[in-house]
Subunit: 218 residues, 2 copies
């Protein structure tokens, strides 16, 4: 439970990258001992959302542009295959779930404000996770959960505020292809979709980050 609460806060960027997650402080907030906090932090460290330093503590991950590229390279490698599998296995119940997720996304696109943006990033990730679930491979689903979480963090960090984070209708078209069981087309659209997301990022800030990071550590 604590892990999920922290993960949500990190992905929503309520916890800024670099923030120190003191065991005692987190424990006080949740009214639990450091023991369980440590377990939660260890899990998040495995997911790459938290960076743990020996004898120094845990910090909200601050992915570099290079790490951001690795996240999207990984997704470009894995997700098209997931789309192929999902196209083969998709059923009526799955399609209904997709339609509901899409409706939620489009509703959020109309809203304004930072909380709507957060919800939008989250909903967009859920679409991809739903597809991974339909593909029916638990291991790949776990990988995708990690990649989507890291993507959300990267988008929150490097996303251009102007452009909308994800769906220019991409999700809708991908779902259409899945419904037609056209795995090849779904795969192709998904690949383009990941390109779109990455192009929306501003990964040029490679230099100078080390200094700001030191400042952000508080």
């Amino acid at each position: 439970m604590i892990r999920d609460a922290l993960r949500d806060a990190i992905i929503d960027r309520r916890l800024a990258p670099g923030t120190k997650l003191s065991e005692a402080e987190v424990g006080a907030l949740f009214h639990v001992s450091r023991t369980v906090v440590r377990a939660a932090l260890q899990m998040l460290s495995f997911e790459g959302l938290v960076r743990a330093e020996r004898n120094r503590g845990a910090f909200v991950a601050n992915p570099t542009p290079d790490e951001a590229r690795q996240v999207f390279d990984s997704r470009r490698l894995i997700e098209p295959g997931i789309a192929m599998a999902a196209a083969e296995r998709i059923g009526a119940a799955d399609i209904a779930a997709f339609r509901m997720a899409l409706a939620g996304e489009e509703r959020l696109l109309g809203e304004r404000g930072p909380s709507a943006r957060r919800a939008e990033i989250r909903a967009s990730g859920d679409f991809h996770l739903l597809m991974a679930a339909v593909a029916g491979n638990a291991i790949l689903l776990k990988f995708m959960e990690e990649l989507v979480a890291r993507s959300s963090l990267v988008i929150a960090l490097y996303g251009r505020s102007g452009a909308s984070s994800c769906g220019h209708g991409d999700h809708g078209r991908i779902l259409s292809a899945l419904e037609r069981r056209d795995g090849v087309e779904a795969s192709r659209l998904l690949s383009l979709h990941i390109d779109h997301i990455e192009m929306d990022l501003d990964l040029r800030v490679a230099e100078g980050m080390a200094l700001r990071e030191a400042l952000a550590t508080e």
Copy 2:
């Protein structure tokens, strides 16, 4: 350190699938408290080598044939892409490391006995991990570490004793393609190679496993 020792023991099948890993017992063996043992077991649980049950304890994973298939499906999806990346980035030092790994493998192929078989499975996995390291994506490397570990467990469980587990020279041919920087060919060979490994397994024991599993739990 404890995590690595346990992982090696699991992969080498010195710890049989289903074996209970009691916190107190493991702690006594390593002369540490249950606290650190719990941390190690949590990590292995994340890697899928250990199955943790609430209030019951941790057990060496006993992958079902279906899980085994998912492992190899995942590898079929990811590894060809890694081969492509590795072909682009491979350097002289990498090739030297590959040659050394291959020499070790072929030496092991000549030896007899269960300990040579274990070392062979391990060396075979190291070849794939080396390729992932050369590919230069830390996230994919971590995924591959998990997949290779799980594969080793699956091979130990379902491998036919007759056929040699991995290299019918496959690794050598893949390395040749990498040296020529022929990513497409390396990718194709790797895909076939994974098929070879999976064909060497006997995954038909789907039924009746539940009973044997209950017995193996001790």
